[in-house]
Subunit: 228 residues, 2 copies
């Protein structure tokens, strides 16, 4: 079946999750991030994602804004910065308006001009997603922002991937799903989507029971892949 619908993970895929710590480190108020921001950003992301998986396994769902704060608090403590409330507030504010990767607007515009359905499918809460989409100015080229909040469990639970077919009334084989998270792309392959793993960092492929069909360094050629 030809692809009709292109669906993107948000954090790490369209939006650069390291941007919050990198940007704060460039501001004069936060010299404590000099030399530490990259580790802080990596720990923040790792703990945030770990907590989503652990909550999915135990059925203890909460919204992504809470686990984002939980991950940050762990990471600030690990960096010796627990209790630095000004830094914490600034990082959280920046997370609400993360930078999109530079190729994102043109890529999404090309998909819309070619007639594809376009959407985000994300762990993020609706408010977080609206914040990033607005800040990146890509709201007009996305048909919908699908959040796990409507099913109450995080990725990669299959209920999350179900949201796409329900919203666009399409078969899983008509969906091109794009994620920078290898595990997300892999699980979406297992679900039945055609998938792209955007592997900007050149990491090894995760050893899971499913394999993404495409591996790219960035998002530039997504419209070509969608057209088949």
């Amino acid at each position: 079946m030809p692809i009709t619908t292109c669906v993107f993970d948000a954090y790490g895929t369209l939006f650069d999750v390291a941007a919050a710590a990198r940007q704060a480190a460039a501001e004069p108020d936060f010299p404590q991030l000099q030399g530490t921001w990259a580790t802080l950003a990596a720990n923040w992301r790792q703990k945030q994602i770990q907590y989503t998986w652990l909550r999915a396994v135990t059925g203890a769902h909460t919204d992504f804004w809470e686990v984002t704060q939980n991950g940050l608090d762990w990471s600030l403590e690990a960096a010796g910065l627990a209790g630095d409330d000004a830094l914490r507030e600034r990082l959280l504010a920046l997370y609400w308006e993360l930078q999109a990767y530079p190729e994102v607007p043109a890529m999404l515009t090309a998909l819309k001009e070619a007639g594809f359905n376009t959407a985000i499918l994300s762990n993020g809460s609706p408010g977080m997603l609206e914040g990033c989409v607005q800040s990146a100015g890509v709201g007009a080229v996305l048909d919908d922002l699908l959040s796990v909040e409507s099913v109450g469990v995080f990725k990669p639970h299959s209920s999350v991937y179900d949201l796409v077919g329900k919203r666009f009334d399409c078969a899983s084989s008509e969906v091109l799903f794009v994620s920078s998270n290898g595990w997300d792309a892999a699980a979406a392959s297992g679900y039945g989507f055609e998938t792209v793993w955007v592997n900007r960092a050149g990491e090894p492929m995760d050893r899971l029971p499913w394999t993404p069909q495409h591996v790219l360094n960035d998002l530039t050629t997504i419209p070509d892949i969608a057209k088949g």
Copy 2:
């Protein structure tokens, strides 16, 4: 209720998961591990655990020996050592006979002499657990080795913690559960066990909805905690 039953996580808690890579690095056959073994061991552990969570969320269970190999293969590739079959085989053989932490035999012996039930509750397959227990010589002071294989899902799914009450016919409040994995200790607290987090590395506490009651640097004082 007084504690009647002391249950231990295996990997990282009784057995040192970094021992395989550290020991291989000390052998003349594997100079490629000089300066790299600690990162290899950390990646191996991290990917192994990630894959258990992802398989638990998606219902794609397999046994722990497979995810142990999957995690190692990712880590060997990340270290530029993919295809080094002699090293791979040696690391896997060492994982089957991991060293116990030095205080383990005396601690378990003290618990048995005081009349407590003792057991392992682990993601490990029965064969893996028997291998490590035999190698550490602690089989006589453990009443049972409980493996997730009997329920077909990894920690921290509640079905795993259910195994303890079923085996020892005891209430969850009679169980002291000990893990070096903060998320395992936290989830077991949520389940209703009294819990100890063995935090050898001095890491920040995980920000999850549950908190372990005790935090220790090693296992030495477990018998005192069990006696209350």
